[in-house]
């Protein structure tokens, strides 16, 4: 079955009749299952352009739907609903409402780049997954994913100091996503870590949490990076027409 017909055979789109005669032919029962008529009217014609305006999505138009990405995909192997080829198809067709059915799993791409390695058309599906996940968040279709929170905590620390101190990044991530740090497996891990670590190392790690390592003379690089990030953020907001989206929402509320 062609990938774009997947939605036709969802249970809610199938009907069987207990007792039905058509032109004198008995079409009752499971053997003559009917597919409900589908009319798609809600194409979002700017969907592909919007994804292409976000970092990673630039080459989506090159896709030939060969399916190498999904075939190679690490996450697809453990969750068959995770289907980059299908999402790229939906985006290119502008079938936003179909895409939104999978909005809560698209961020789970692990960036292993097996898709990008396999893609014969240089679509960079890994980048397309990131762009799509960001699009969903920026358009307000989903909350920020844990992964985006992690990226933000991480990037903020680099912009500020030039380097990463892992325990600080971890603590900030757990607090921002409202998770308890003291999960049983984490406690067990720390226990096993302490088993082998000499005092000197512990003191060093302790110190690192108090005095974060930093790159010297970082302030002008930091300012330049932040300026660029803000500039790009603004550009992307325009490409995604976020201001109009807010305006429409306001009018809806007022009405």
């Amino acid at each position: 079955m062609p990938i774009h017909e997947k939605s036709l055979i969802r249970p809610e789109n199938l009907t069987t009749h207990e007792d039905l005669m058509l032109d004198g032919v008995d079409v009752s029962g499971h053997w003559s299952t009917f597919i409900e008529t589908r009319v798609v009217k809600d194409y979002n014609e700017s969907l592909q352009d919007e994804i292409a305006a976000l970092p990673g999505g630039e080459q989506i138009h090159r896709c030939w739907q060969c399916g190498s990405c999904t075939n190679a995909c690490t996450v697809n192997a453990i969750n068959e609903d995770f289907n980059p080829r299908y999402w790229i198809y939906l985006i290119r067709m502008g079938m936003e409402s179909e895409l939104l059915r999978d909005k809560d799993i698209i961020w789970q791409c692990v960036s292993c780049n097996k898709c990008t390695y396999a893609c014969p058309r240089d679509v960079f599906p890994e980048g397309v997954m990131k762009a799509t996940a960001h699009w969903l968040e920026r358009k307000g279709h989903t909350e920020k994913s844990p992964s985006t929170h992690f990226d933000e905590v991480f990037t903020e620390q680099i912009v500020k100091t030039g380097k990463i101190e892992e325990s600080r990044t971890m603590r900030r991530f757990f607090s921002r996503t409202g998770q308890a740090l003291a999960q049983p497996w984490m406690i067990e891990m720390v226990k096993r870590m302490l088993r082998g670590l000499p005092i000197g190392m512990l003191t060093r790690m302790g110190l690192a949490t108090l005095v974060a390592p930093r790159t010297n003379d970082w302030s002008s690089a930091s300012a330049a990076i932040q300026e660029y990030i803000d500039e790009q953020h603004e550009k992307q907001s325009q490409a995604l027409s976020l201001a109009e989206l807010v305006e429409t929402a306001k009018q809806d509320v007022a009405a």
């Binding site: 990673g56 789970q108 791409c109 390695y117 844990p146 082998g196 690089a221 660029y228």
Partner: protein, 310 residues
């Protein structure tokens, strides 16, 4: 200067993880370098390469961050080669190199940011970025290594785990897949070659370049645990005693989710996890402590002692 000499003194870019969770990789890389008579000069006042996280926020910022490291090595230290043992750092420097050579927009952004930050803009081609595997392979080679082995790793069965970032995507590694002698992106073998030269028995391990879910190790832990469990089980089924690693994110991912699989899924896979530099170091006669075996979470001290190592 022979090719070997070119790699005898290199700029060393440890990166953030090697100062934290990957400390034993840092320690063992330096110790192996010393034992082999190779000179590592740490990149002055380095910064993070941008990792995957900054790339996700903005790929060009990641390119800039990596370019600053290469600019320092080339322009302030006059070095030709940068060696990064971390797969993430290695990958990002390679990616920056590719983007700067092939994408004018990236080059413009990097130039603008470098000028504002007050340092020389990195020009593509100024340095060659290599992995710790390339470094030992090029500077010493298998024969050179075999001559220097004091404690053979014979009898140790190793599954070599390379992860994602060392070989993918292919286009940022133009020197790979160039026929005999070069590294393969589909079936990498440099780590196998080096460990075999040190006497280890490499098992036929099908998940050499599988993903450990390192990108979401904390944000989607259940996925990472499943992926790691696959790797651990496949290594065990291949007959390995040890998984040899070459990336701090893979290494700590395997260690962390080995425990998490125990605690959340009740699945215990008894297999040791060591950096390839730790195995090489011990083969070169270094004590386990010298290569930081005690700093690993996965406890292999008794296992190594029984085999006359460390």
């Amino acid at each position: 200067m022979t090719t070997k000499d070119k790699y005898k003194k290199v700029a060393y870019y440890p990166g953030c993880a090697l100062e934290g969770s990957g400390h034993s990789y840092n320690r063992s890389t330096k110790a192996v370098g010393k034992a082999l008579g190779l000179d590592l000069v740490e990149v002055k006042n380095w910064n993070c390469c941008g990792a995957m996280e900054v790339k996700n926020i903005d790929p060009k910022i990641q390119t800039y961050l990596s370019s600053r490291v290469m600019s320092t090595a080339a322009n302030e230290m006059d070095m030709d080669v940068v060696m990064a043992p971390c797969n993430g750092c290695y990958h990002n420097l390679k990616k920056a190199e590719y983007d700067l050579a092939n994408d004018t927009e990236s080059a413009e952004v990097v130039d603008r940011l470098s000028k504002k930050a007050g340092h020389k803009t990195y020009e593509s081609g100024q340095v060659e970025t290599i992995h710790a595997l390339d470094w030992i392979k090029e500077a010493i080679g298998e024969d050179g290594l075999a001559e220097r082995v004091k404690n053979s790793l014979s009898g140790i069965k190793v599954a070599n785990y390379y992860g994602c970032m060392y070989t993918r995507p292919r286009h940022i590694f133009p020197e790979k897949d160039q026929g005999p002698g070069s590294e393969s992106t589909s079936k990498p073998h440099f780590m196998d070659d080096l460990l075999a030269a040190a006497g280890a028995e490499n098992v036929d391990f099908p998940l050499k370049t599988a993903c450990c879910g390192g990108a979401h190790t904390l944000s989607d832990s259940d996925t990472s645990t499943k992926l790691v469990l696959n790797i651990l089980k496949a290594a065990k089924l291949s007959g390995a005693d040890v998984i040899a690693t070459e990336c701090p994110t893979c290494h700590s991912g395997l260690e962390m989710h080995q425990i998490r699989a125990e605690k959340t899924l009740g699945e215990t896979v008894d297999i040791k996890i060591l950096y390839f530099t730790q195995l090489l170091g011990m083969a070169l006669g270094l004590k386990a402590k010298k290569v930081g075996v005690h700093e690993n979470i996965n406890d292999s001290i008794k296992f190594l002692k029984e085999r006359g190592l460390g």
